[in-house]
Symmetry: C2
Amino acid sequence: MNSLEEVTDFVKNGHKHYLPHISIDNVIFGYHDQQLKILLLKWKGLNGWGLPGGFIKRREPLSEAAHRILEERTSLSNLFLQQFEVFGDSPYRVKERNPKDFRDKFGLEVDEDNWLFERTLSIGFFALVDYSKVSVTTDFFTEDYQWWDVNEVPDLLFDQNEVVDKALLTLRLQIYHQPIGYNLLPSTFTLPEIHTLYETILGKELDQRNFSKKLTNLGLIKKLDERRNIGPHRAPYLYQFEKETYEEALKEGIVHTY
Amino acid sequence: MNSLEEVTDFVKNGHKHYLPHISIDNVIFGYHDQQLKILLLKWKGLNGWGLPGGFIKRREPLSEAAHRILEERTSLSNLFLQQFEVFGDSPYRVKERNPKDFRDKFGLEVDEDNWLFERTLSIGFFALVDYSKVSVTTDFFTEDYQWWDVNEVPDLLFDQNEVVDKALLTLRLQIYHQPIGYNLLPSTFTLPEIHTLYETILGKELDQRNFSKKLTNLGLIKKLDERRNIGPHRAPYLYQFEKETYEEALKEGIVHTY
């Protein structure tokens, strides 16, 4: 959404094209080089940083909407994008949006009873990507974007700090039974590489021996007959993800390990 | 909702009191005597069995709405009621509801564009209770209720079989890190008792020694100095839930074990 014409129509008639009262917030975690970050956008009218999000079209399946909104912002498609919670305990969630802001910041005339000021529940989705490969797009409402370290997230709009906290908790809790991390490592990798990935995501140290035993027992990775030469007398074995386990998991959204 | 007057107002003006386009479905699992069941209601107008559910009031926090809806049906309050997924991939979810049914079955005149026939996403919550202690209430829209074995769930309305399947999967997946089962055993219990509870919920056999080690390692239960006399030379040790772990878990909705 970039032209004033498109934006004016969205503000005025959006409730005819989108379901009112429900929005989507995408928490996009980015991993690269032992750092875990999240993608935030700077909203012009709302005086602060917030999550990329949007609304569901009247006839659009929910999961398609989440993917469309993500793709519009990041050009990323075919991601493992996972729903984790609906945020609806704050009935006045929209209090930071008001007609005066819309007039002052965007030059848009908006009525008090405009659909954008009504109570809106938000469905949280998260994904994990390699942030070095992502190009982010800003639009009429957003003036900047930034990948923030997960330990240094600023004050966000509405209840979005809670959304981020819950997404991080879910990511960490599910790291052993969701197809997380599949696209973050090369097709073959060493144990130290996947170990570092997991330590970074979990934000804590993991005993290396127990860790590799756990991943192997869960059927998530398998040892290959190849080694990688990285120095004199140093040739660690290579591993790869168990393709079948992951394909099953991607389809069902879950690795069956209970 | 019981009188014709209340129901007529709900059908005609409900969208002024409730948020349209979003409903709640409660999957109530009942455990008793080594059986796992779920609560289904027989809807008069909809020709089949379905989940107890309802709508969110305009100013009502989401989690309060879920508890209110559950309490209206079962008189149960203060339950651990957990959100698990929003179902919104079927845009025509409401196709089984139509004006003719409302007229024929309830004697209610309803317009084609009534809010109850609009697309509605559904937020799934689940709870686990002792079904021998629950009294269920029917109302104007429901003529019967029944606790169904989880392995014998009939064809349900809309996409509710998917809702039930996903609830069961979540329950099983989270059984080791959510405060599930806290109210299903007496305050002190033997290992075989909790072992049976977990086997029933998971629907499979669990090695008894590994199981008790796992629960103890997770800090979920602790061994007491007491035993229970159940026969000559038979006096198994008693256990109890770790109150602090569970209280923390109930507050945060999660046992931190990752």
